[in-house]
């Protein structure tokens, strides 16, 4: 089993875990964690892609930028979660359904 194959299995595994978490969790914090797992799958995918194509540097530089960007998204998500908890006294995403139509 080559390094690339292990990487690919890792990407698919992380994607599976991430999407499963995204679809099944009701807690907003867990949803954000699931998003982070998905983002990590993307980071790993970029590293694998860089290695597979021989553009290791390109893949890595994109991956580092992605890490920075998805940290920002996570921070904003957490900030929203704090406000949701303060204003609505719940973190259950199912209860976040006032807007309809």
């Amino acid at each position: 089993m080559t390094l690339l194959n292990i990487g690919l299995i890792g990407v698919l595994g992380l994607l599976g875990v991430g999407f499963y978490g995204l679809l099944t969790s009701r807690n907003l914090i867990k949803v954000i964690i699931a998003l982070q797992i998905l983002a990590k799958a993307a980071v790993l995918a970029l590293l694998v892609a860089g290695n597979a194509s021989g553009q290791i540097g390109l893949g890595q530089s994109v991956a580092i930028t992605v890490i920075v960007a998805d940290t920002i998204v996570a921070v904003i998500g957490m900030a929203l979660a704090i406000q949701v908890r303060r204003q609505m006294h719940t973190l259950d995403v199912v209860e976040l359904a006032r807007l309809r139509g």
């Binding site: 994607l15 995204l22 907003l28 949803v31 998003l35 998905l38 983002a39 799958a41 993307a42 995918a45 970029l46 694998v48 892609a49 860089g50 597979a52 194509s53 021989g54 553009q55 390109l58 893949g59 530089s61 994109v62 930028t65 992605v66 960007a69 998805d70 920002i72 998204v73 904003i76 998500g77 929203l80 979660a81 406000q83 949701v84 204003q87 609505m88 995403v93 976040l96 359904a97 006032r98 807007l99 139509g101």
Partner: protein
């Protein structure tokens, strides 16, 4: 040469101004210890920064016109990992983002006067304008993704600006989760492209793809991921569910920006990423059919959902879906026929949609402000609230009606002209399916009047409700902003050639993207 490139200043100016806007507002409040001074100072600095951006813009436009005469099609700027190209399409997006951004900064003064954290609002507004200009200029997939993500981050903050209102928070959460998943799918697509072609530069990818006999499964999968990932931001129909919430809950100036520029920026990003993949000979028709299918879905579903809305801003948000549909029809006609007429029509509609929808959201926002927000009420503005509003607020009612009739495609307004150009391009294709497609679009345009017309009717013909008479007077700044935006909507309707300098190069740039 960094200092001598107009492209550098066009993007750096708003981005450098962003912290300045925030700090000036923040410092003004700490120093003077007065309540609302932060908003006023931040707005002035933001407005100054956005107005200053028009200088590098005219410089860039002139230089672009100059080099187009020499048959090269783009201004380029590269520095480290930054790779930017300004072509006709970028210029169109720049005009839209900068124009609407400037007006929104001007308009938002009274709208937000009572809110806390205004300096953050203006800082993000200036940032998102700069980011969208850069997004339009992205020359490789990496830049495309970075600017796209930056735009998303800035817009999350703006959507959830009223962070003490549960409905705004809900809209913000829905938007963040859907948009973040979309951007991860785009990244996976970028990974596939990188693994397969060993480059991220859009022109190199196009050159690579053009040598292939057929699109490999990996690139096909990448195309699908781009379509879904960017499609979330463009609100292609099954992915549109965040849009009505986010657009209706954001402050009205931001609704105008989101609906007028952000989804269009998403569309430009989508077309740029898909462009290289259409290079395989003989596949253009398949892509055209795919885009047309999404266009049809968007028009139909958007219209049907808009029909049953009672809240004004929600209705306008659904009508954005319909207008994305028209743009897609224009682009797909262009892809099918290989001529720039349809592309120019679709992009002319993009420009007009920014004007019309921007005007509609700002006018609806002005009425929302005078009737609800000014008295501290965060309930949404419903169609019934507006009964007879024309007697009390003649300018807001007039501009809202102009915008709605233009959105509905009535001559002699801007919306009619761009739809007409798309329809004409469709009939010139001399193909039964394309003709059916544009006839379907025309019928949808008629259908959309079924929700625009009652609103205009209720503004003018119904008896004024008590709510309207109890409303606050309209701030003058808002009236000026509405009048300034209404002017081009009418002027382009009478002289559609006015914007040809912008839309024709944009159409040609789009065709170049598709290799025509």
């Amino acid at each position: 040469m960094m200092e001598t490139s107009p492209l550098f200043w066009l993007i750096a100016l708003p981005l450098l101004a962003t912290p300045l806007v925030y700090l000036s507002g923040h410092l003004a409040q700490t120093v003077t210890r007065r309540e609302t001074v932060n908003g006023r100072v931040a707005r002035d600095v933001a407005l100054a920064a956005l107005l200053a951006c028009w200088l590098p813009f005219t410089w860039a436009a002139r230089e672009l016109a100059h080099i187009s005469a020499a048959h090269t099609d783009a201004l380029t700027f590269g520095w480290g990992g930054l790779a930017l190209r300004l072509d006709g399409l970028s210029l169109l997006l720049t005009v839209v983002a900068l124009g609407l951004g400037t007006l929104v900064a001007f308009y938002s003064g009274p709208y937000l006067a009572a809110d806390r954290g205004q300096e953050k609002y203006y800082a993000m507004l200036v940032a998102i304008v700069g980011i969208m200009i850069a997004l339009g200029c992205a020359a490789d997939l990496f830049n495309l993704w970075v600017w796209f993500e930056a735009m998303a981050v800035a817009s999350y903050l703006l959507v959830a600006f009223y962070h003490e209102q549960p409905t705004s928070l809900e809209a913000g959460v829905k938007y963040l989760v859907q948009s973040a998943v979309g951007s991860i799918l785009v990244l996976l697509g970028i990974g596939l492209v990188l693994a397969h072609t060993a480059t991220l530069d859009l022109q190199e990818i196009r050159a690579f793809v053009a040598t292939q006999g057929a699109l490999s499964p990996m690139l096909l999968a990448a195309g699908a991921l781009f379509l879904i990932g960017f499609g979330v931001k463009v609100a292609l129909v099954p992915l549109h569910t965040w849009l009505p919430d986010a657009h209706s809950q954001a402050p009205s100036g931001i609704s105008a920006m989101l609906s007028g520029v952000v989804i269009e920026a998403g569309l430009v990003a989508l077309l740029r990423s898909l462009g290289p993949l259409t290079a395989v000979a003989g596949t253009a028709t398949a892509w055209a059919v795919l885009l047309a299918c999404f266009g049809v879905l968007n028009m139909l579903v958007g219209n049907l959902l808009a029909l049953r809305q009672t809240q004004v801003k929600r209705m306008l948000a659904y009508s954005s879906l319909v207008h994305v549909g028209y743009m897609l029809v224009g682009v797909s006609v262009a892809l099918f026929t290989g001529t720039a007429v349809g592309a120019a029509g679709g992009l002319f509609h993009l420009f007009n949609h920014a004007l019309m929808k921007g005007l509609a959201f700002l006018a609806a926002g002005a009425l929302l402000y005078t009737l609800h927000l000014a008295v501290g009420d965060h309930n949404p503005l419903t169609v019934n609230d507006l009964a007879g509003a024309a007697r009390r607020y003649p300018l807001a009612a007039l501009t809202l009606s102009l915008a709605l009739l233009s959105l509905g495609g009535l001559p002699p307004f801007a919306g009619f002209m761009s739809k007409w150009q798309i329809f004409v391009a469709g009939f010139q294709a001399h193909n039964g399916w394309v003709a059916a497609l544009v006839i379907f679009a025309a019928l949808n345009s008629v259908l959309s009047l079924a929700y625009y017309a009652p609103l205009v009717n209720s503004l003018y013909r119904l008896k004024s409700s008590e709510l309207v008479w109890a409303g606050k007077p309209m701030p003058r700044t808002m009236s000026v902003a509405l009048a300034l935006l209404a002017l081009p909507v009418v002027a382009i309707g009478f002289w559609p050639g006015l914007m040809r300098w912008l839309t024709e190069p944009a159409g040609l740039a789009l065709m170049a993207l598709f290799g025509k």
